[in-house]
Subunit: 449 residues, 2 copies
């Protein structure tokens, strides 16, 4: 494969070169693609990042900065650059990338950077800064290829070539009227193939998807992924073309949303930055742990209520943790499958009902099988068949509750408009802890004492 992964060796070579002079460093860096340099920078301290960006040509430096993960704070590099180099780099950035990075800086510094830019760039970025970053407006690029409905073949081709001059790649050609209203799209292929007398109006395709600037980024990702689009236009309420969003932005959105899902389901706040420091991690996770503690008090109060039973039958304490642990894990399994199905938009109402029914069945079977194993241990090791029977019933009952809670709760949350992934394992395991102890200790008190 031609693509070279960054390996330890590369990192060591770059660290060595950081000790050497600019020329040597420059030469080494020229071996790497911008997105590879971005990964390297993410592993280096701030001063090395600043130095490397400083010696790279502006057009490569801008690619590197735009490829850096937002979590490694590329905006800090802009802060530290001298104004002239900074303007050069920002002007090389696509407007949407420039906006994403600048938006992370305090307002005063935003203005400082924007004042140094040429007027058109500054005004474009200022407009983009007004959109929420999780919406189509926040994702879109305002540089698009557009041709007028009444353009001739030659005019259209000239426009496309001229407008695409500044772009590395382009995907869609939008057709607009004199007032910049979006009317459709036209493919470059169809323009080339057409006779010279043809106008854009004869080639226009009017069957296209679009979004407005306030459309949520998840919806944008869904459309691009469902309809296999390379790009989707963004319009205002009057159908005026504002910009477009390309598939590569959507791949990033999907990764982000998937990270949120996996974090939320595990009881981590969705905005914990993966590479954040321990302060951020404590802030994001402690509230969930305290919530878990509150629910644990609930479970503990069930145990306390049966304190007499435990004192007389201390052998049951070991089985308690087994019933609760198995219930928690079975609930997490059911939850993960259900949340993922909801995320992938994979459920109709009728299927929701069948999903819960399926999880009931799975809980019944898995509970009975694992319950039988524990029953056997109680008979042969503890010589207490009645205890074994109680544990068998508690295990089966708790795994049924696990299956139902793990599927019904996220489905219910989805129905009432709450993100189902917040039904994290922490919430779900409350059910299995409380019911598990109630079942086991209740039956033990009744049958065994």
């Amino acid at each position: 494969m031609q693509s070279f992964e960054i390996d330890k060796n590369d990192l060591l070579r770059i660290k060595d070169a950081l000790e050497a002079d600019d020329a040597a460093l420059q030469e080494l860096l020229s071996e790497f693609h911008a997105s590879e340099i971005a990964i390297i920078l993410e592993g280096l301290p701030q001063e090395s990042r600043d130095r490397i960006i400083n010696i790279l040509p502006a057009e490569i430096a801008s690619d590197v900065i735009s490829e850096m993960d937002a979590e490694s704070h590329p905006e800090k590099i802009l802060e530290n650059l001298d104004p002239e180099k900074r303007s050069e780099i920002v002007e090389e950035l696509d407007y949407d990338d420039a906006t994403d990075i600048i938006s992370q800086l305090p307002e005063e510094q935003q203005n400082e950077i924007l004042e140094d830019l040429d007027e058109e760039d500054a005004s474009n970025i200022r407009t983009l800064l007004t959109y929420d970053e999780d919406t189509a407006g926040g994702l879109m690029n305002t540089q698009v290829i557009k041709v007028n409905l009444n353009a001739s073949k030659k005019e259209a081709l000239d426009t496309v070539i001229k407008l695409s001059e500044e772009m590395e790649e382009f995907y869609s050609i939008y057709v607009v009227d004199d007032l910049n209203k979006l009317l459709g799209t036209v493919s470059l292929k169809s323009i080339i193939k057409s006779k010279n007398s043809i106008k854009v109006a004869d080639l226009i395709q009017t069957d296209y998807e679009y979004v407005t600037a306030d459309t949520d980024q998840e919806e944008v990702a869904r459309l691009i992924s469902q309809y296999n689009l390379t790009s989707i236009p963004v319009v205002d309420e009057g159908m005026h073309l504002l910009g477009h969003i390309t598939f590569d932005d959507v791949i990033d959105v999907l990764e982000e949303e998937n990270t949120e899902d996996i974090l939320k389901i595990s009881g981590v706040s969705e905005d914990e930055e993966l590479s954040g420091n321990w302060r951020e991690a404590v802030k994001s996770r402690l509230p969930w742990l305290i919530l878990n503690l509150m629910t644990a008090f609930l479970a503990a109060s069930v145990i306390r209520y049966f304190g007499g039973t435990i004192a007389k039958l201390s052998i049951i304490a070991g089985y308690m943790t087994m019933i609760a642990g198995m219930g928690g894990n079975a609930a997490t399994q059911s939850l993960a499958v259900t949340v993922r199905r909801i995320s992938l938009n994979d459920l109709t109402d009728n299927q929701a009902y069948r999903t819960v029914l399926k999880e009931f069945t799975v809980g019944l079977i898995n509970g009975a099988v694992t319950g039988l194993i524990v029953l056997a241990v109680a008979i042969f090791y503890d010589q207490n068949p009645m205890l074994g029977l109680v544990i068998f019933l508690a295990m089966t009952g708790n795994l049924i509750i696990a299956g139902i809670a793990g599927s019904a709760i996220p489905l219910f949350l989805k129905r009432v408009g709450i993100d189902p992934a917040v039904a994290s394992s922490i919430i779900i395991t409350t059910f299995t802890d409380v019911f598990g102890f109630l079942l086991l200790l209740g039956m033990a008190s009744y049958f065994l004492l």
Copy 2:
């Protein structure tokens, strides 16, 4: 937004139309995009699916079938179609989609379908069927736009227009020599802009990424996402161009890989189909639950060892579940963040060390804070400060273990080449259960009896 989501109403109308004659059904279906019909079909029984595909024109039917989720088994529709209609539909499919679907059928039926196709289609699909479906070969499409290095501007344009005739969209133009060896790419824009005397050799870009047919699909997804590619060429060992993979295939791969991550981390086998029946779910989850049961016996044996302590101090039973539950949840948090970072390729070795250190700190703080809450309860509610102190220490200790186990174990697995997501919460919570009980009951026996 122009795109119409499928709502309940649409489904009801289609169910009504299924009672009516073909003409009415046909008219209703014409309102929908192929990918929308695909979603509708996924919610209908097999006979309705067969009927709808039967009355759709072949070119739309093929789009619908290729858009259907593999889990809803579009190949079953092919099984039931009459051979002539089936051939029409399969010939409209892209080779990669046709291969994916046909590969799900028994070999006998595969041959039956392939024999009815024209020779070129059949031989292309036969070749694709030889690749593993999780590799670049299994993902790639063999229909590409390629031009010869020595073609003139006019020849190149003619070739591109002719080859793109059968494709809805195309992204890259590959440059090959007379032996079909890949030499580079050329953009349509540059061909159009060039003078008539120019040859492809003058315009070729030789800086491009590529993969071989056996490259893992995750690696393909990583390259396309890292370098923002619309497509990537697939070559054999001799650099001969076999086909290419487009960004939309990669979006599907990413969703698939993310589903696998979230399932594995929750102790569900990665190949459980989300929409599978209860038999598949039991098969996928029961082994993990039995594994969990084995580890629970380990934790229970710790409790059993301290049976005397519990009999004398039955109040401790409620706190046991608290310590174990909190440890399990903290470990799951640490695990989710770490596995996700590894998935996003977001960690160098040095950062791995720092990650474990960070999780240690987070465990220390979260353990101390929640431990203090429980200490307060023990003092004011149970009037037992010494018990409170033991619980405080056990909670802090267990959450430190949780942080370290949740981060170090997946990082270690990654290092030795095992998928870190198999360090599911089931494995990790064994540590927190066993150590939590050891800490709490050990200290309780020593200090409180």
